[in-house]
Subunit: 540 residues, 2 copies
């Protein structure tokens, strides 16, 4: 059989040859912009020639800092087909993290949406490797900026060569892209995708039993292109020749509803918050969204009520998918098996609210704290381990690799149960579990219970090293101002003892003024863990 | 990204883990046999242990000589997962060719369906490498045979280990299977498939825009498992967990109709002859085949009338696909693009009667006789060249490799036109074209015209080397007995001049007693070409 490399070139060229008439629709600052794949492909080749003119070499990193729009889609193919590495930068990271990942990736060039320029201006003095900035604007002139040298994307493209030939000798194991995880502790960790991994992940999105992306689809990724490649939808859309609708800068639910109706979107993907927002708009009944064949929901689990509302009220199939930066990202899709369709509505919903079956190509294990595989009973919890052709085997130049990628398996840090059908359901994060005497205690369950107490403003539970039990939980409580000095430890112990088995109840409860938090408001448990690391050991 | 090999192991293990309850239905000599994937997987592992016990080593060839049944499906995975090479032998070849390919592949072991044993007995004295024969029978005892040593498949399996572990170090580029083309001239040519090529071809069968094989499907491959892996359906069925229906020995159209109705088949695949036969049965109106979502038709082009009958009369979508042994086999599937569905019925049928678009992963060119790419106008004919991850790059130990695999392209020998949408339509075989003065003349068109003449019993046109024009056509006509001596060359020249441009008309017309034919009744044009090789040159 031919040694035919699995690269993005064959994906791009298929659209160029077979789907020149199909459309790409992009919401910009002056409204809807639309063009054909023929025009898209010419501009993508022009961008390739611009990279050459700017001296970008094979393997160089080129960062993008942009919304879901047509220029970003041009960069999605021009950069990897040229042989450089598409580094999509998450615009929602803290400026410190943004500077960190640009420096860590050693980006040579940044492509920046006009309205996001001020963020990069803030960090420009910290950037050590960027040699040029390209500003992507819907206007004729780019704004004044302190970034230097700064070029206009459109000006550069107008000089570019629409017949530019991408190199034909790129190997499938060469890097094509990279993405950093958003970290709650420490710096973000980088994941490098290869041509092969993206090719195979994209193919998997076309499988009837995963998403089934098709030429007949009108695909609208709401999940950002700066976040794990918009789950791979832009690549799939190009390969299979789908019409693509890119909703641009911070689309509101009303804008999404309008786009779905006007462009006859059949397939869209995003996080539960997006679908909660859209549901509000759809409830008003002013939009005909009968065109939608599937809403894909990932990122975190959607409440069953939301799934029900989409399906029963709006008549739109609503499907869970699951994955992470390290897995390209999609690894499960929650569909019923053929013999499950005759179950009761309740049973079917219970299955569909899980994360689903591993899609073809991905292998997984649920491994208990004691190292044994969890029973397939839907109860026995363990960490989800993954391997497969689109699963990472390292963090980019990062010593945290060795904690996470062990003996050929990626240890996801997600705690899951798996039922007798093989359906995976997430229950927790390993770092939020307390490892006590060979068993796991869910800190989230304890926190959720404490937060229902009327005197509690916020509460956090962490595992602290313990000489006998490995770890034991300690609860940290911030009492509401009006209750301060009026509640006691004992009251909370009793409260928890009523609700949990004895060995789950924390060994101590401490009142503090504030739970330390990350820049985006998540509990920074690591800080508490560090501070109380010697709590039991020094006592012992 | 992980260096995760694309091998059949992950396909097999997915069925084992996620679809143990799904069914495999196999038509045997005592009626329908059915079991679950759980049982199938245990028996497949048992067969693996039998291969080990018989001393089969990694890379050894194991031949199968069998119908579409459950034992053959066990061999489909046990042999490659064990690391040996599944050599499916076409039972319809001449005994000379059967002996040739077993010797050429150097098969160590043959697995033979009971009723096919007599064919192998006929050639056993010519076989140089086969060390043992395994007879697959639905009966307790295998028949007496002169093959030696001959074992009973069921006896061996009953001693086998259902927990046998297949080796986990097989590389994706290792061979997993092989298949020989049926040759009209010379010996059959062998094509070796790798784990990687079969993995990727199987994944492509799951794409919504190709066949979309799904867990919800009940797949019945009518195309034989001894012929290009039944177009890959058995592999896809296992990976995606489809219920499989294997129709056994020489199924009649009535048997197929019964199986479709009783097993609720959703997807079936075969050649036009099969669908012509089935149509006859369905016309009687005694079968409910509403379960069928798609009939896949390949091998040769189906007449439009047949497509229409399936769709209009029976309400069954009827889809053309196309491929060959060298391409694993599927390379095109004929589906309408989204904007073609609004065309008139006539226009849609014209598109769907073509071979279709190249499926994702396969690259093609239509190259004219003068070496230029043919215009995408649906008229300009050229040879179809292919490349991609499931396209062969050689014939196994065969010097004919160099005529066919040139500069990274497989020259298919099929003559095609490609329209402005990229849809491929086959028009001829290159070897049946006459290359005259830089242009191609279709011998088939000339033959078809001659055969409409009332005095013609049969006619063949071949290209013969010519000193000035490269080649010129000569027509050979067998006149019907009652017309013998009553028709002249001149009459036929006039007949053709009325129907073709001048330079298409053959330079000579010769009356012969019989057109030489192959064992299966196809015109053996090579014989005429050889005989008349010097016709113009010696004259000149």
């Amino acid at each position: 059989m031919m040694k035919y490399p699995l690269t993005l070139h064959s994906i791009f060229e298929r659209a160029e040859k077979f789907f020149p008439k199909k459309e790409i629709v992009s919401r910009g600052s002056h409204g809807i912009f639309r063009y054909t794949y023929a025009q898209y492909c010419r501009r993508t080749r022009q961008l390739g020639s611009v990279l050459a003119a700017l001296g970008i070499k094979r393997g160089h990193r080129v960062g993008t800092f942009a919304w879901n729009n047509h220029r970003h889609l041009e960069a999605y193919f021009a950069i990897p087909c040229y042989g450089a590495v598409l580094h999509t930068i998450n615009i929602r990271l803290s400026t410190d993290h943004i500077a960190y990942i640009i420096n860590h990736a050693e980006d040579d060039l940044l492509l920046i949406d006009e309205d996001l320029v001020p963020i990069i201006e803030k960090v420009q003095d910290q950037l050590h490797t960027v040699k040029a900035y390209i500003i992507m604007s819907d206007n004729k002139d780019i704004p004044r900026t302190s970034l230097s040298p700064a070029y206009s994307y459109e000006d550069l493209l107008s000089e570019g060569n629409p017949g530019f030939q991408f190199p034909d000798d790129i190997g499938e194991d060469e890097p094509m892209g990279m993405c950093y995880t958003s970290a709650t502790t420490g710096n973000p960790k980088g994941v490098v995708y290869t041509h092969r991994s993206t090719y195979l992940h994209t193919m998997a999105l076309g499988l009837a039993d995963s998403i089934g992306v098709s030429e007949t689809d009108v695909c609208m990724p709401v999940v950002p292109m700066f976040h794990v490649n918009a789950w791979g939808f832009p690549f799939a859309g190009v390969w299979f020749g789908s019409k693509q609708v890119l909703p641009g800068r911070a689309p509101t639910p009303a804008i999404l509803a309008d786009l779905i109706e006007q462009e006859r979107v059949t397939l869209t993907a995003g996080v539960p918050t997006v679908w909660l927002g859209l549901a509000k708009v759809l409830r008003e009944g002013n939009h005909d969204v009968s065109c939608l064949r599937t809403v894909i929901c990932g990122g975190s689990a959607a409440p069953q009520g939301l799934i029900r509302e989409y399906e029963s009220t709006f008549g739109i199939p609503f499907i869970h998918a699951y994955g992470m930066t390290e897995s390209s990202p999609i690894i499960t899709v929650s569909r019923l098996k053929s013999y499950q369709v005759t179950l009761s509505e309740e049973e079917r919903m219970d299955i569909r609210a899980k994360q689903g079956l591993l899609i073809p190509g991905v292998e997984g294990r649920v491994v208990r704290y004691d190292g044994k595989e969890a029973a397939w009973d839907g109860l026995d919890a363990g960490e989800l381990w993954l391997r497969g052709p689109w699963i990472a085997d390292e963090y980019y130049k990062d010593e945290r690799t060795e904690e996470t990628f062990i003996d050929g398996w990626y240890h996801s840090g997600d705690v899951a149960v798996i039922d007798e059908e093989g359906t995976i359901k997430l229950v927790d994060r390993t770092k939020d579990l307390v490892k006590s005497g060979g068993e796991w205690i869910s800190s989230l369950d304890l926190e959720n219970a404490l937060m229902t107490h009327p005197a509690v403003f916020e509460a956090s539970v962490v595992g602290v090293p313990h000489p006998k039990w490995d770890e034991r939980p300690i609860a940290f409580i911030v009492v509401k101002d009006e209750h301060k000095g009026k509640v006691t430890k004992e009251e909370f112990f009793t409260y928890l003892e009523d609700r949990f088995v004895k060995w789950w109840v924390p060994d101590d409860i401490l009142f503090i003024d504030e739970i330390p938090k990350t820049s985006v408001g998540k509990f920074l448990k690591q800080s508490l863990r560090n501070q109380y690391h010697g709590y039991f050991i020094s006592k012992a």
